[in-house]
Amino acid sequence: MTEAASNKPVLLTIRGLRIEGRSDEKWSEIVKGVDLTLRRGEVLGLIGESGAGKSTLGLAAMGFTRDGCRISGGSIDFDGIDLLTAPEPVRRGLRGKRIAYVAQSAAASFNPAHRLIDQYSEGPVQHGVMGKAEAQRDAVELYRRMRLPNPDEIGFRYPHQVSGGQLQRAMTAMAMACRPDLIIFDEPTTALDVTTQIEVLSAIRDIVAQFDTAAIYITHDLAVVAQMADRIKVLLHGEEVEEADTRTMLSTPREDYTKSLWAVRSFERGAQPALPAADVPVVELRNIVAAYGPVPVLHDVSFEIHRRRTVAVVGESGSGKSTAARVITGLLPPSSGSVLFEGQPLPADYRQRSKDQLRQAQMIYQMADTALNPKHRIREIIGRPVRFYLGKSGKALTERIRELLRLIELEPDLFIDRLPSELSGGQKQRIGIARALAAEPRFIICDEVTSALDQLVAEGILRLLDRLQSEFDLAYMFITHDLATVKAIADEVVVMKDGRVVEQGPKAEMFAPPHDPYTELLLSSVPEMDPDWLDRLLAERAAGRAGGSLPASQL
């Protein structure tokens, strides 16, 4: 692919592109003079952390800027058309027809009011490429190529009736509808479970290759980009760090920043000393059965979490791992079974628990955005548990807040009076941690705390959690679907599926075969930083060796 592409004509040329964004009535640069060249049929990976300007750049390649942004300099040339000076109707005529876009969240980007196939045919019909009937026939064909189940009828469903992985494929099909020259993929698999991600990735790769479409593939996941791209461009704060073809970039990155990105997945905490024989677990779940109304969610779930230990609860969405957390916190009283705290049964309903029982178990949430009250200042968010549980006030309270801020490595003077909206994602998550710590608990539930964060930031959070655990003797329950995270931080692993514990044991055992087939599927689906990983995996699965029991298309 690489060699072939280098001979093809240039499709897109971006030179010295500058884009400004407005915040608080001030314009500040988001993209600071980036150059980019893309040939026909070539796939360029754009990587960087959030805020690096990847999406803005990707959209600019369509001659499009989001509201509140403007292009302040440079040039964009698409196949001889200057996208900056072309009149809007011309640009509009290109979009969807010659340049298409695949968004991060297909679930949010499909219009909930229309059926998939109608949304598919909208582009071709409105751009005058083909008639509606023809477009619909074409849609079925592309759905089939994207390996969607029931390609003949899936298009007649509404977006909410289709799963996330299928939607993402349907969106790729939609992008293909006019057979564009260029597709912008904006983190198309970030919101998906690992097992689903594989399917989408392979489908995208195949179809792009089949139609010889050029693509810009935007992601923050290096392992993913390694599978997809011919070349990789690394962005930081709106500037290019370096660009090289994929293999070169992976094997010999030049810049320090790139190296640090590559090093992210190296964190792994050491083995912990063995537990004393008679250690009473901090938290123990005994034969929990729970249901939302008539719908059973947990079936006889039991596991325990010891002092200074991190138990990772792994599973895909809907596996019941978050429900287990709700049972522990008392938000969802189980229909049978019990939760023990240091050997003593906890009242099933949190409202029956004492203030001290509540204090001992804290929670850190996945979405720091919704976990922090947007109208409260940091002082209030962290200070409230201190005042509420520990009765501190005045100077002592302020001192404690500052101490907690220092613990989570945020400068107290800078942050104490900020609002959550004035923080970055990682900083918000740190505040969430500080709020949990403020209660001085014995046990913390971490619910997907890193899944919304960039890898580099997530890494920092994991390290911080690890440090705090040993410092304060904490027990963690770590809910995640990301096996890399499990590898990094867990002592023990509980694998859940459909409300049941499928497998549990120490991390080392879990990561060594033989596995339960489901665990195996999970493990094998974690992308690796090897450009050949996907090919190899697909080949293996086709041979029926790994995860063969689960036809991937049904995920």
Binding site: G93, A103, S109, N111, A113, E122, G123, Q126, Y158
Partner: protein, 317 residues
């Protein structure tokens, strides 16, 4: 779909309960009003003897609960009773008025609803433009004037120049065209009163969605602004719009006493106010029942329609 039928059934049952409580409340409130029907009917001409005689005649010497039970017993058998003040059967008294009220409400709605939707869509399309601002100021001004004042201004402009009649004096048996002509001014007044609310909600509901990823997606598919607003935003903004339309329709039916007075239009509102003044409890109760039922049914219709407008609720996974 059976879910919707189930919802309609449940809501209807609740509605009946609400109606029942409304009648209790209205009955109680009228009991609390100073003066009784006998006094109100005889007015200043009352003497103690005529009062006593009329009270006996109207059955006011019975305890309140007895009168309520008699009344509701009658209603349950479809008999609304007779007016205390002029002894006419209430069903007959109300039927004509209700027809008038519904006619005017429908007339105003037929003008106002499409108008506000179009204006709302245009304002959303050209948001921030002069058109948007001007239509905003205009509609806001029109709702900030009291109704009767809007009516007077319209009379001054449109009636005194002879374009339209200043009162909606409809001879019995007039053809529809004449009815429409004669009730144009009240319908226009009501249109001005309700348009602002619906138009602003349409605009807001659409703009609210413009930050959605699927709107960006539509634009990235190369769709023009009009298609983005009409085809992509509007269908998803229907629920709040339907609700506000229902609210305004309810207002057109139940809240137009003042317009009825100014244009001398014999609607239900004026009948109810007259009857409150005369403490004509059965008439007030019947009118209140109709108003409450209209409100409940319109709300129910709005909920059903917004449910139907949302594929997520119609087509379960």
């Amino acid at each position: 779909m059976s879910d919707i039928w189930w919802m309609i059934l449940r809501r209807l049952a609740l509605g009946v309960l609400t109606l029942f409580v409304v009648t209790l409340l209205i009955f109680g409130a009228i009991q609390l009003l100073p003066g009784d029907p006998a006094q109100a009917i005889l007015g200043q001409a009352a003497t103690p003897e005529t009062l006593a005689a009329l009270r006996t005649e109207l059955g006011l010497d019975l305890p309140a609960w007895r009168r309520y039970l008699d009344w509701i017993g009658g209603v349950l058998q479809g008999d609304f009773g007779v007016s205390l003040a002029n002894k006419r059967p209430i069903s007959e008294l109300i039927a004509g008025r209700l027809a008038n009220t519904l006619f005017l409400a429908l007339y105003a709605a037929v003008i106002a609803v499409p108008l506000s939707l179009v204006l709302g869509v245009l304002a959303a399309l050209w948001r921030g433009s002069w058109f948007d601002r001007a239509i905003n100021v205009l509609t806001l001004s029109s709702i900030s004037f009291p109704e009767f004042f809007v009516a007077y201004i319209l009379i001054f402009w449109l009636a005194q120049s002879g374009l339209f009649p200043s009162i909606s004096n409809i001879p019995p048996g007039a053809p529809l065209a004449e009815k429409l002509y004669r009730t144009f001014l009240p319908a226009l007044t009501l249109t001005l009163v309700v348009t602002a609310h619906m138009m602003r909600m349409t605009r807001a509901a659409i703009i609210n969605l413009l930050a959605s990823p699927y709107i960006e997606m539509a634009r990235l598919k190369g769709m023009g602004p009009t298609r983005v607003i009409v085809h992509h935003a509007l269908p998803n903004a229907l629920a709040p719009i339907i609700n506000v339309v229902a609210l305004n329709l309810a207002y057109l039916i139940t809240g137009v006493v003042v317009v009825e007075v100014v244009f001398v239009y014999p609607g239900l509102g004026q009948l109810m106010v007259d009857s409150v003044a005369k403490r004509d409890i059965p008439v007030v109760q019947a009118a209140a029942l109709i108003f409450a039922a209209a409100y409940i049914l319109l709300n129910l219709a709005a909920d059903v329609l917004s449910t139907l407008s949302n594929p997520r609720l119609v087509n379960k996974r």
